[in-house]
């Protein structure tokens, strides 16, 4: 089995237009959530989100590209450019033939669906733009990343709702670890902050109207975000041979299914995924210093996740740190695990633990060190990132220093 390391990262989300800006915001505990600026916002009950602001697609893409790139594809392309450029890799010949891209997204081109349903249903038109299908399909982002960077190996998209990115990165990890691919570009992207994308979530009545306050006793729901994060996963020997700067090592991954409820989380399913990732890493649980929580800010997730952490880690649960950066960037649904992996890498590389902001009141059911409100300096060498999706599909990654 090959060792798998990360040699590039890129992102765009409510906290920044790059991975570095995002990490700087996390370090400062900056709030990226605010009033939404979208069409028909006055018809929504939920009017806040972690929106990518001042984003001008024309600055990055030409008119023909924009005709084919939904917002979720645009985000993925910008994050991938940054990550691949940082890795220093160029894909030609044999490397190109064996390198691919696996991205997570839950909704794909939601803005494109929304705009074109308006055209036919609201405006009563009988014709839509010819590129609607290739623009909205869930694999559009992965395909455009492959075309832009000449990635000709295994490429596909994973859709497991809020765990999409973690499942995608887990697939990339396994492809590199097995020796099948020397390099995989991976992460996730989501752009669901449009009228239809929010109206659908509103219906479930789990959204907060004012803030995402994970683990806080007065939390009242989740807040959506948007954006992408993309990483370069590379065979350690390949990276060493070319003298690449290694950001972190991916040491373990596990997936489980609750097989119980379509929306309610399960302590058992979450605990089994965390234990599985640790077993895969071959690491003792007392080595884990930080967990980037799923931490949605809903009543159900946060208490279930804390109970699962307590079950898995026993007494060590009180010594580790666990924070939810969704309090800052919102819940990017299918893209969320990817943006959250930035916080894990920052913890390993810079010794800075991103905080859970908006934390106001302790909840006895979430009695862990949630790094409230302010980032903390701490040396950690093994971290985990949790993702627990609607549908009971769980995916947990473990990362370490090299």
């Amino acid at each position: 089995m090959k060792r798998v390391v990360i040699t590039g990262q890129g992102s765009i989300n409510a906290l920044g237009m790059s991975a570095a800006e995002t990490c700087a915001s996390m370090r400062e505990g900056r709030l990226g959530i605010g009033e939404l600026e979208i069409r028909d916002v006055e018809r929504l009950a939920i009017r806040i989100g972690g929106q990518v602001r001042d984003f001008n697609a024309e600055k990055h893409f030409n008119r023909q590209q924009i005709a084919l790139y939904d917002r979720f594809t645009q985000f993925a392309l910008l994050a991938a450019d940054e990550a691949i450029s940082q890795s220093g890799l160029e894909f030609h010949g044999e490397l190109a033939a064996r390198a691919g891209v696996v991205l997570g997204t839950a909704g794909g081109g939601v803005n494109t669906w929304d705009e074109n349903y308006r055209t036919v249903y609201e405006d009563g038109k009988n014709r839509v733009h010819p590129f609607v299908v290739p623009k909205l399909m869930n694999n559009a982002a992965a395909s455009h990343v492959s075309m832009t960077h000449n990635l000709k190996g295994p490429s596909f998209t994973v859709a497991t709702a809020c765990a999409s990115s973690n499942h995608a990165m887990g697939q990339a990890f396994q492809l590199v670890r097995s020796g099948g691919c020397p390099v995989m570009v991976t992460g996730g992207t989501e752009a669901m902050l449009c009228f239809g994308g929010i109206k659908a979530w509103e219906g479930l009545r789990v959204m907060s109207r004012d803030a995402c306050r994970p683990f806080s006793a007065n939390r009242n729901g989740m807040v959506q975000g948007e954006g992408a994060a993309v990483f370069v996963f590379e065979d350690y020997d390949h990276a060493r041979a070319r003298g690449a700067d290694i950001l972190a090592e991916v040491v373990g991954f596990a997936m489980t299914s609750d097989a119980s409820d379509i929306v309610m989380p399960s302590k058992q399913g979450a605990a089994r995924a965390m234990k599985g990732a640790l077993a895969d890493a071959g690491a003792g649980l007392d080595r884990v210093g930080y967990i980037n929580a799923h931490g949605t800010g809903t009543a159900a997730n946060d208490k279930t996740e804390c109970a699962a952490v307590a079950e898995v880690f026993g007494a060590h649960a009180d010594r580790l740190m666990i924070s939810s950066t969704k309090s800052m960037h919102g819940h990017l649904i299918g893209g969320t695990g990817a943006v959250e992996l930035l916080a894990c890498i920052m913890a390993l590389r810079e010794g800075v633990i991103a905080p859970t902001i908006g934390y106001e009141e302790p909840d006895p059911e979430c009695a862990l060190d949630v790094v409230p409100n302010e980032a903390r300096e701490a040396k950690v060498d093994l971290v985990m990132s949790n993702a627990f999706a609607f549908g009971g599909l769980n995916a947990v990654l473990a990362l370490g220093t090299v």
Binding site: G203, R205, R219, N220, A299
Partner: protein, 92 residues
């Protein structure tokens, strides 16, 4: 006025619980009727649609807001209040 509201609310709850309307008693709790959190969210949606009202309900904190869901009679009372508000808003 209040009779049809009560009757309609009971019908909605009965349909969700897969019970006869006669079995939906004022003192029945949602738990008694076997309505879980998803069933409750669906019932509230049906109530909003039937009466053209907005029900203040957040599944993260069912106790918050003024919408009392402690039993069928409480739900009916809360819906009657919202319907009266709606009619008041319509005439003013």
């Amino acid at each position: 006025m209040s009779v049809p509201v009560a009757e309609k609310v009971r019908e909605i709850i009965a349909e969700q619980a897969v019970l006869d309307v006669a079995d939906v008693k004022p003192e029945s709790t949602l738990e008694d009727l076997g309505i879980d959190s998803l069933g409750l969210v669906e019932s509230i949606f049906a109530i909003e649609e039937a009466f053209d009202i907005q029900v203040p309900f957040n599944a993260n904190d069912p106790e918050a807001g003024d919408f009392d869901i402690s039993n069928v009679a409480a739900i009916i009372g809360a819906v009657e209040g919202l319907v009266a508000e709606r009619d008041g808003a319509a005439v003013s």
